[in-house]
Symmetry: C2
Subunit: 210 residues, 2 copies
C-alpha cells in the first residue's frame, strides 16, 4: 500500500504511526503541502479533497481521513491493538483521539491559518490562535486521562490516544503553546523510546526539511 503524506502533517504522522506499530509495510509518496502539491492534478486524482493522508491499498482503493484509516487498520490488522477490548474503555480512548482530531487539529491546520492571514492576521495573531486552540485541547486531554495509569495515556499499552497526542505536541511547540501538563510530557517521553515512534517521526521521513 502507498501512503501519501507530508513529513510535517500531523494527520499523516498518525497513520505512519499506526502502520509502523502494526508492522504493515507501506511506500511513502511525499506531497509537499507548503508548495501546494495537494492542489495539483496528480494528487487531486487520489484525494479530491486535497488533504493528506491518503492511503491507497493494493486493490487501488484509496482511504482518506486519518481516524477512518486507523479504524480500518485496527479492524484488518488487529495486533498489536490500538484500542482496548472493553466498549467503554474504547470510547474513552477514542474521545482523547477525537479531541485532537476534531477540536484541535482542523482549527489550526494550514488551510485555516491561511484563511486567518487573508483576514489580516499577522504571524503573532496566527500563532496565538493556534496556541489557544492547542492548549484548550491538551487541557481537555489531560482531564480525560486523569486517574489513568501510565506510562501511556491509558496504561501500559500504546493506544490511538497516544498516536494522536504525540504528533499534536510537535504542533504545540511550533506555535508556542504552553505545555503545562506533566503527565502529557511523560507520555510523550515514553512514546519516544519506542522504535515505531522513532521510525514514524517527521525527522525520519525522506521529505523532512530541518
Amino acid at each position: 500500500m502507498t501512503l501519501y503524506g507530508y513529513w510535517r502533517s500531523t494527520a499523516s504522522w498518525r497513520v505512519r504511526l499506526g502502520l509502523t506499530i502494526k508492522g504493515v509495510p507501506f511506500d511513502t509518496v511525499p506531497i509537499h503541502l507548503g508548495q501546494g502539491a495537494q492542489l495539483e492534478g496528480g494528487f487531486q486524482a487520489v484525494n479530491p479533497q486535497g488533504f493528506v493522508p491518503a492511503l491507497t491499498l493494493d486493490d487501488g482503493t484509496t482511504l482518506t481521513q486519518s481516524l477512518a484509516i486507523l479504524e480500518w487498520l485496527e479492524e484488518t490488522h488487529p495486533e498489536p491493538a490500538l484500542l482496548p477490548a472493553d466498549p467503554i474503555a474504547r470510547a474513552q480512548v477514542r474521545a482523547v483521539a477525537e479531541v485532537i482530531a476534531c477540536d484541535v487539529h482542523p482549527v489550526q491546520n494550514l488551510k485555516v491559518l491561511k484563511m486567518l492571514r487573508a483576514l489580516g492576521q499577522d504571524q503573532d495573531g496566527i500563532d496565538a490562535w493556534a496556541a489557544r486552540i492547542i492548549e484548550d485541547g491538551l487541557e481537555a486531554c489531560d482531564a480525560l486521562i486523569a486517574g489513568q495509569e501510565g506510562p501511556f495515556c491509558f496504561g501500559d499499552k500504546v493506544t490511538m490516544a497516544d498516536v494522536l497526542l504525540v504528533p499534536q505536541l510537535s504542533n504545540a511547540r511550533r506555535f508556542g503553546a504552553e505545555l503545562r501538563w506533566p503527565r502529557i510530557l511523560e507520555i510523550e517521553a515514553a512514546c519516544a523510546e519506542l522504535p515505531a515512534f522513532k521510525a514514524a517521526a517527521p525527522e525520519a521521513q525522506p521529505d523532512f526539511v530541518p
Copy 2:
C-alpha cells in the same frame, strides 16, 4: 442514560439520531450554549471540556465526543447497524462522517466564531467563513459518495455518514452556504421521511426555540 445536549448543537443531534435509530431510551438535559451554560459548574462536573454532547451511562460513566459515542453505541447496540460489515466500506462511511466531524463542524462551531468576532470580524465575515468551510466539506462528501447508490449516502441503509451529514445541512442553511449538490439534498429528503430523523430533529426537542 442521560444525554446532555442542545437543540441547535449538530454534534448533540448526531448522538440523538444514533440513540433514536437504535431505539435506545434516554433522558435529555438541555445545556443552553447560547447562554453559556456549558461553562457553569454543574455541567463542568459532567464534561470538563464544556462541550455537548455528553452521555452519562447508568453506571455513572460519562462519554464525550460524538463520534466516540456513536462508535460505542454501534459496539453495544449493533442493530440496526450504522456501519456496514466490510472494513473498506466501513472506512468509506467513516471518512464522510469525519469530513463533517473534523474538517467542517469544529471550524465553524460557536467557540471558533466567537474567536473570529474577537478578531474584529462582523457577522458577514463570520457567515462567509462558516459558509466556505461548510461548502468545502460538502464538496468533499459529494466526491466521497460519488457512484454510490441511494437513497442514502451508502445505499439503502442509513449509516453514520447520513447521521453526520443531515445535521450539518442545517448549519449550512444557517450560515448561507450554497447547497449545490443535488445528491446531498436527495439524501437529506430521504432521511427526513424516517421516524427517527423526525424524532431527533431540533424542532422536536424540549429546549427548541423557533
